[in-house]
Symmetry: C2
Subunit: 128 residues, 2 copies
């Protein structure tokens, strides 16, 4: 089951994108599996405290990427293949690692300091 209770709103980027990325990272982690049902738009919006239209926008993008299948009256279900998961994994890992390294380099951090920093915050961050 998908645990949206772990969803942490990080201000800055659009909410619908945060939802989209949260689901994609869950897919990569293997927590969200093929055939699994997503919470309904209304339920998830209530859970996150956002507008139903915002959740709908995230779900519509998942639909366009063919990662979910939606039918009127029933909840949307995940449609995943190994190939899709591998593709998403590359896309997100690439972007997140590249972005983090770029920022740290801009601050004049050394490679060794960067590794130390990641290791230190690894323990600080609550487990997901």
């Amino acid at each position: 089951m998908i645990s949206f209770e772990e969803f942490i709103m990080q201000d800055g980027s659009p909410i619908y994108q945060q939802i989209l990325l949260f689901i994609k990272r869950g897919i990569i982690a293997g927590i969200i599996k093929d055939g699994e049902e997503l919470p309904s738009r209304r339920v998830l919006s209530a859970l996150l405290g956002v507008n139903p239209n915002t959740v709908q926008k995230a779900y519509r993008l998942l639909e366009e990427e063919k990662l979910i299948q939606s039918l009127q009256g029933s909840r949307s279900t995940m449609v995943l293949t190994e190939e899709k998961v591998r593709s998403i994994r590359e896309e997100l890992l690439e972007e997140d690692a590249r972005s983090a390294v770029q920022k740290l380099k801009q601050m004049g951090i050394s490679r060794e300091e960067a590794v130390e920093l990641i290791e230190r915050y690894w323990d600080k961050e609550s487990n997901l």
Copy 2:
């Protein structure tokens, strides 16, 4: 001198915030020093290919944080103390590291994989 040629537009977050963070990271790296003159709003906007008002918004925020001093007719100059630099360093390092670790954990990446990933992208990323 501040080298804004190294500025890379990353879509997603507002441009004025990207400019603000680019300058703050330059301060942390020690590239941008106390008393130094920033490019004028018009010059920087032309250099980055964005609207002068967008640069002005970033500079206004720097002004509000008392990191620059602006006088009509003259270019704005950096007003930095060791304490301010230390404060910005904590703020940004904290946020960037925390954010990176959170994303990697959400993807089910292990601590060892994360370190490997960072080290691999450290060499990929062009030097700044």
